[in-house]
Symmetry: C2
Subunit: 239 residues, 2 copies
Amino acid sequence: MKVMIRNDRMADGEPSGLSSSIVATLKEQIIHWQYPPEHRLTEADLCKTFHVSRSPVREALRILATDGFVKKLPNRGYAVKQYNLGEIEELYEVRLALELYTVECLAKRGPPNAHDREDLVALKRTWTGLLNGSSKKAEELARLDTLFHETLAHATGNKTLLRHLRTINERLMLFRMIDLDKTDRAESTCRQHLEILKHIAAKDARKARAAMQRNIEEGRINVHTAIKDALAKAYSMKT
Amino acid sequence: MKVMIRNDRMADGEPSGLSSSIVATLKEQIIHWQYPPEHRLTEADLCKTFHVSRSPVREALRILATDGFVKKLPNRGYAVKQYNLGEIEELYEVRLALELYTVECLAKRGPPNAHDREDLVALKRTWTGLLNGSSKKAEELARLDTLFHETLAHATGNKTLLRHLRTINERLMLFRMIDLDKTDRAESTCRQHLEILKHIAAKDARKARAAMQRNIEEGRINVHTAIKDALAKAYSMKT
DNA sequence: GATCTGAAAATTGTATACAATTAGGCGTAC
DNA sequence: GTACGCCTAATTGTATACAATTTTCAGATC
């Protein structure tokens, strides 16, 4: 009973005890759309489902709120946050600013140590293989895509940059599948990623930024049109 | 005692009750260096000083930890976070990325509505006045400088961008006074800010970025040298 | 039928009690 | 003198009880 799930990345002093596993579980569920948007989450309900008291549940909800997965309804508990088109665009903009800086940084001064340099060549191997290879399931692609962008940020050596990028990209997880499910997206992603790596290796900051911008913008546009279509459809159904 | 400080930007559902005022008070104290770095903060102690129970104190400490003002010592409570040179540089880098994007955004598409446009001309008035005028106390300068950068971010209309920039700049508050106390910094700040506004008005994104970069870099360098000197002095004293 | 009123239910905010883990120190053996 | 082990105190993690606020809904009134 009451198993303490030890979190993977427990190096920093952040998570502790039951709340961290509640956070992880709920995040996972929300990202996979297992709750309808605006679904209400009350402390009492979560206590029942997780078989714990209110203390860790409260902590978990507060964390999820600051991470942008739930929002607080004054005096009415919490609800799964639904992002509207404008907010999604905002997230993509901040992501763009941070990732452009990331590649500029890498092109200009390169990875700070041998380990990070190896990570970059490993990325090149991975995505070259993916370009020719077969496995193009969206789920796996999403994992590798996340890994790609996080590895770049990590290679700058700037942990603060990585952390901010993570919180942004974690939220965008909600929509990443929409993007990567698109036809031919796998191939264009491969080409764009390889291009980014090429320009970094060539120490061409301008071209690296441009390539990264194309990569992120394509994703943003895919999500944008998909959401707008969905909204239009939902609206037309109501009339 | 136990005054509930109503937060300015309370529009979102974040703060509530006692914890928010504890957070505000401790933040204020930490920013003003009223605790030595690495000073330990235990829940029990804070309960006594604030005359509240552990629940709100725990909540406050968790918030302060995610905001980067305290760090968690596993099983030993919390401690006021001491930033080393590398971490400060990281913060300045992320800030640079976000603020460069901010001015680029403003120069390219301009403020989204009349209200934000007015804010920008108000900034121009303020800093023109400051250039000629007298009041150059560092404390007041810091307030206006913060207002300048936050107003720009706000004028983009991107709330997410503003929020991330705030969390970064809030931490850099710890070192802003070091920067602004420097001789002639007031004047150079005025000139740089006015230049930024000029290029934004002229819709010249490249020059606006360059001007913002100079502004931020100057601050970074001031802080960098000051901290390095302080560390060198502390080290030489020990030998 | 619409609207106001009041009480009950729902829900969070706070306080406190208990459990579990860990750090620090003291004493003892070698 | 040093190292080992136990014991106590410190400290957090969790559960629960209580208080205060707000929503909601039934019933009465116009």
